[in-house]
Amino acid sequence: MSAVVARSLRKRYGSLLAVDGIDFQVEPGECFGFLGPNGAGKTTTMKMIYGLASMDEGDLSVLGLDVRTQRREVKARLGVVPQESNLDNDLTVRENLELQAVYHRIPVDGRVDRLLESALLSSRGDDRPRMLSGGMKRRLLIARALVNDPGLIVLDEPTTGLDPQARLAIWEQLDELRERGVTLLLTTHYMEEADRLCDRLAIMTSGRIVALGTPSELRERYGQETLEGVFLAITGREFE
């Protein structure tokens, strides 16, 4: 069973066609990336998967469940790392993870300690999230997404705005998840990140998927040495 199957997925905001009929499939255990400029429809696609955006047309199934009719069930099996931190600053770092377990109706057992440890935040459990650095916040967001042992984790631009070291720490956190067989679905606009992390990539512009394949397939198909070259060959060299 595929982790995600999207067929002719379409989403409109007023007169803006944010997602214009896309098809893709994410296989269990792989890391699938959406690459594209801001406004390409990547975030909207992620939001439709994790229930923060409704879909207008098409079919979307996540872990074998229909996102339209089985919202709670889908979300119970997902982990979500949003683009912008929505950590709860009225609670401590530890309480953020504890309440996440409460929202998921699972016992707050030793998992909170384990997650703090793997996010390298054991010593910061009693701090408020706002006291953390950007990289730490992102690691906490990932730890929060793992509270329910999800089979699929959706990450929207997991390293945007981070310094190289913080980015490396996130990549290592994600490598660990892949080794454990967790399916990852992420968006990025860093070619380097896409190359480093993703088994397969979908390149998106203006709400459409314009190319799909493994990084090496894409390089070969477009006769480019780098993903950057592929990206520019597809989207044109002009910058807005």
Binding site: R72, L78, N86, D88, R105
Partner: protein
Amino acid sequence: MIALPSPRAAAAVWRRDLRVFSRAWRGTLLPQFLDPVIYLLAMGFGLGAYLAEVNGIPYERFIASGLVASAAMWAASFESTWNVYWKMEEARLYDAMIATPLEPQDIVAGEAAWAATRATVYGTSFLVIVGLFGFIASPWAIALPLFVALGGLCFSMCGLAFSSLIPKMDYYSYYFTLFITPLFLFSGVFYPLDRLPDWVSIIAFLSPLHHLVEITRGMILGPELLSVLGHSAWLAVVTSLLFLVPARAMRRRLVA
């Protein structure tokens, strides 16, 4: 179609608020406990020096029994307006909740339950103070917190309905100046409504605070049980119907 909240999911939202409140009440939320006390001292004893009795009730007792209701209204209103809007639009906490099995109607139910809890805490605290003044004349007062919770729930739903519809926080000036403050002054907390023109009774019937004041005054000074039941029924019906507004608007807002 009405999407009903899951009680367990709503309870999870409630638990989050309780956790935050259990740390904050001794600090920034403490002055709110004193609000009705100040009104009681200023109006009850100040004005009471000129007004001996209202409808046969000593004025300070009349007003104290009404202020239990308004304390609940204020507490529920702050919680279901500024606090909810902050969580919804600034901290984006509801986005994080929606990404878990929680759904918009659970958030509405959980926040309403929490705001009602806070209303009950503040209303009951003031009820104890009223008791310390020796103003409680009826043993029915012991059951009053339940009814304060019901009234609190009604005000919470009013606040949530408004919060879920407004595009920015500034609109709360309308809510408080044109809704909550007039309710506070025209719902029979400070003077009885029965000798005012007939149209006042229509407004009184529409005011949730009036119904709660009738309940608190009755149960503190000696209730007519049928009347308490009638006012409670009004609050329960209005609260249930009102739930549909924030439940729908919150979904449109959070699941765009």
